[in-house]
C-alpha cells in the first residue's frame, strides 16, 4: 500500500498524481467515489490527472481518448489499450493505493524510453 494524499486535500472533480514509476493517479469523482488508474495515457505520453473528469470517465488532456475509471477500458479512441486499475483504500483520512502487479500498457514512446531506446 502506497500513501497518496489526504482525502480532505482531494476535492471532488480533482485528481492526484502519485509520482511513482509508472505514475498512478487517484480520481475523486463528482459523486464522491475514488478510483486509481495508471496516469499515463496508453496512446501517447500524457498525464490523465490533467484530463477532463466527467462521471466515471476521464478524457486524455491531449488527444481526447477516454478511459473508464472503474475498469480502465477505452471508451473513445485514439487509445486502443486499457489502463490498469488499482485498488484504493481510505484509512484515517488518508488515501492509499495498492498498485496492480499487471504489466502496464505504456504508449510506444514511453515504453521505448524505459527500454533505453530512442524516445
Amino acid at each position: 500500500m502506497i500513501p497518496a494524499c489526504r482525502l480532505v486535500d482531494l476535492p471532488r472533480g480533482e485528481a492526484f498524481r502519485l509520482d511513482i514509476d509508472p505514475p498512478v493517479s487517484v480520481f475523486h469523482t463528482d459523486d464522491g467515489e475514488l478510483f486509481a488508474i495508471d496516469d499515463t495515457c496508453t496512446h501517447q505520453d500524457a498525464s490523465l490527472a490533467d484530463g477532463w473528469l466527467e462521471g466515471c470517465e476521464v478524457e486524455c488532456p491531449l488527444h481526447a481518448s477516454k478511459f473508464d475509471l472503474r475498469t480502465g477500458a477505452v471508451d473513445a479512441p485514439p487509445a486502443k489499450l486499457p489502463v490498469r486499475t488499482h485498488e484504493v483504500l481510505v484509512e484515517d483520512g488518508m488515501i492509499y493505493v495498492q498498485v496492480s502487479t499487471d504489466a502496464p500498457n505504456l504508449p510506444p514512446c514511453v515504453a521505448s524510453r524505459l527500454a533505453g531506446g530512442p524516445a
Binding site: 490527472a49 488527444h63 479512441p77 486502443k80 514512446c109 530512442p118 524516445a119
Partner: protein, 386 residues
C-alpha cells in the same frame, strides 16, 4: 457508410452501440483499414511509430460490417436509394440501403502545375506519409508551402530529422485564421526559434525542375532551392460524387445541427460535412479530429430516429498540434474574439495559456505546453456555451 476513416468508423461504432443490428456496409476509397491521421505529420513521419500503431480498431473489434475497401462511391441515387461504386473489384456495383452516412472526408489541395514533378508531396493519407517519410530520410533542403498546421508540423518533424527547412506562407501571419494575428505570430515564431526559415506575405508563383523539383519560385522574384517540396495549402471536401444527387452542397454537405442533410435517411459527418452551429447561427465545416470522433453519435441517432431527436449542443471544437516539442492546444472559435489575454505563462517562453474573449466572455482558449490549465479552461468554455 460511405467513408472508412475516423468519422466512418465512429459512425459504425455508434450504430452498433445505439442498437442497429442490420446489415452494415462500409465503403472506403483507400485500401487501408481505418487509421489515425494526426501522427502522419508527427511521430509516424519521424519514424517513431509504425503503421500498426496507427490502426484505429481495437484488437478483436468486430462491428459486423462488410468492408469494401479500395473502392469509391461515384454517385448517390435518391430514388433507387443506392450508392454506385467505381474502382477496385466492385466497379459498377450498386449498394442499396435504407440509410446512408456520408463520411468521405477531404482531400489535400494540390499546387496547380505540380503534377508529375518528383519530390513534390501533399500529406493527407498513409500512402502520402509513406512516400514523404522515405524522401525525408534522404535529407536535403525541404520547402514547405503553407504555414498552417500540417505545414508547420511537417517543418518541425523534418527539422528534427536534420533537414534544412524553409516555410513559405502567403499571408502576413501564419495561423492567423484559426488562432488570430497575435497568437498566430507567437506560435509560428517556433519556426524561427529553431532555425527554420519562415517567409511570410509572399505567394508561390510556381515550381521549377525538369522531372524533379529543384526550386520554389516566389511571386516577389526570389527562388528558394528545394530537394523536396511539401504543399500544405488546405483541403477541399470530397463531395463531387454527390453533385446532382439532391444532397445540398455548400462548402461540403450542408447539414443541420444533428447531421441531417437535405435528403431523408442521409446524414453526413467528419471533414466533408458542414454542420449548422446553433450558437453562431451559421454553417461550419470543422476539420478537427475530435469533431469526426464525437459528432457521428448524434448523426447516427438522427438517422435511426428518422430525425426525431433534439440535437445536443456539441462541445466547442478542439484541436491540438505538436511542433518543436511544444504541445499546442486550441478550443473554441477565435474569429469572433475582440480581445486575447495571456492568463498564464509568457509568450516569449512559448509557454502560454491565452483566453480569447468577445464582449468580456471567453469564446476560445489557446495553450502552449499547458495541458492541465488548458483542460480546465476548455471545460469551463463548454460549460458556458452549453
Amino acid at each position: 457508410m460511405v467513408g472508412a476513416s475516423l468519422a466512418g468508423l465512429s459512425a459504425a461504432r455508434s450504430l452498433r452501440k445505439q442498437g442497429f443490428d442490420g446489415r452494415l456496409v462500409i465503403i472506403g476509397d483507400e485500401i487501408h483499414r481505418p487509421y489515425d491521421r494526426p501522427p502522419l505529420s508527427k511521430e509516424f513521419l519521424a519514424g517513431g511509430i509504425g503503421e500498426a500503431d496507427l490502426a484505429l480498431e481495437m484488437d478483436g473489434e468486430d462491428l459486423g460490417a462488410e468492408w469494401l475497401l479500395g473502392t469509391r462511391a461515384a454517385g448517390l441515387d435518391r430514388t433507387e436509394r443506392a450508392v454506385r461504386l467505381v474502382g477496385g473489384g466492385e466497379d459498377g456495383r450498386e449498394i442499396r440501403a435504407d440509410g446512408f452516412v456520408i463520411a468521405t472526408g477531404a482531400a489535400a489541395r494540390q499546387l496547380p502545375g505540380s503534377d508529375g514533378l518528383a519530390g513534390v508531396h501533399v500529406l493527407r493519407t498513409l500512402d502520402d506519409a509513406r512516400a514523404l517519410r522515405d524522401e525525408l530520410a534522404q535529407g536535403g533542403r525541404l520547402v514547405v508551402i503553407g504555414g498552417g498546421f500540417i505545414g508547420a508540423e511537417v517543418a518541425s518533424t523534418a527539422h528534427a530529422l536534420g533537414l534544412d527547412v524553409t516555410v513559405v506562407e502567403a499571408a502576413p501571419t501564419p495561423l492567423a485564421g484559426p488562432l488570430g494575428e497575435d497568437m498566430g505570430r507567437i506560435v509560428s515564431a517556433l519556426h524561427v526559434d529553431h532555425g527554420v526559415r519562415l517567409l511570410c506575405g509572399v505567394g508561390v508563383k510556381g515550381l521549377s525542375g525538369e522531372s524533379r523539383v529543384d526550386a520554389v519560385l516566389l511571386e516577389d522574384g526570389r527562388t528558394v532551392p528545394a530537394d523536396i517540396v511539401v504543399v500544405g495549402v488546405g483541403a477541399r471536401p470530397c463531395v463531387e460524387w454527390l453533385e446532382g444527387s439532391g444532397v445540398v452542397l455548400d462548402n461540403g454537405v450542408k447539414c443541420g445541427a444533428d447531421g441531417r442533410t437535405s435528403l431523408a435517411g442521409v446524414v453526413a459527418v467528419g471533414d466533408c460535412a458542414s454542420w449548422y452551429d446553433p450558437r453562431a447561427g451559421i454553417h461550419r465545416r470543422v476539420e478537427h479530429w475530435t469533431g469526426a470522433q464525437e459528432r457521428p453519435a448524434a448523426a447516427v441517432a438522427t438517422l435511426l430516429a428518422g430525425g426525431a431527436v433534439e440535437p445536443g449542443v456539441p462541445r466547442p471544437p478542439y484541436f491540438w498540434s505538436d511542433q518543436y516539442g511544444v504541445k499546442i492546444q486550441f478550443a473554441g472559435h477565435a474569429a469572433g474574439a475582440d480581445s486575447v489575454t495571456v492568463e498564464e505563462g509568457a509568450p516569449d517562453d512559448r509557454n502560454v495559456l491565452a483566453v480569447y474573449r468577445r464582449a468580456g466572455h471567453p469564446v476560445a482558449v489557446l495553450g502552449m505546453n499547458q495541458p492541465r490549465l488548458f483542460t480546465r479552461w476548455r471545460k469551463q468554455l463548454a460549460a458556458m456555451t452549453s
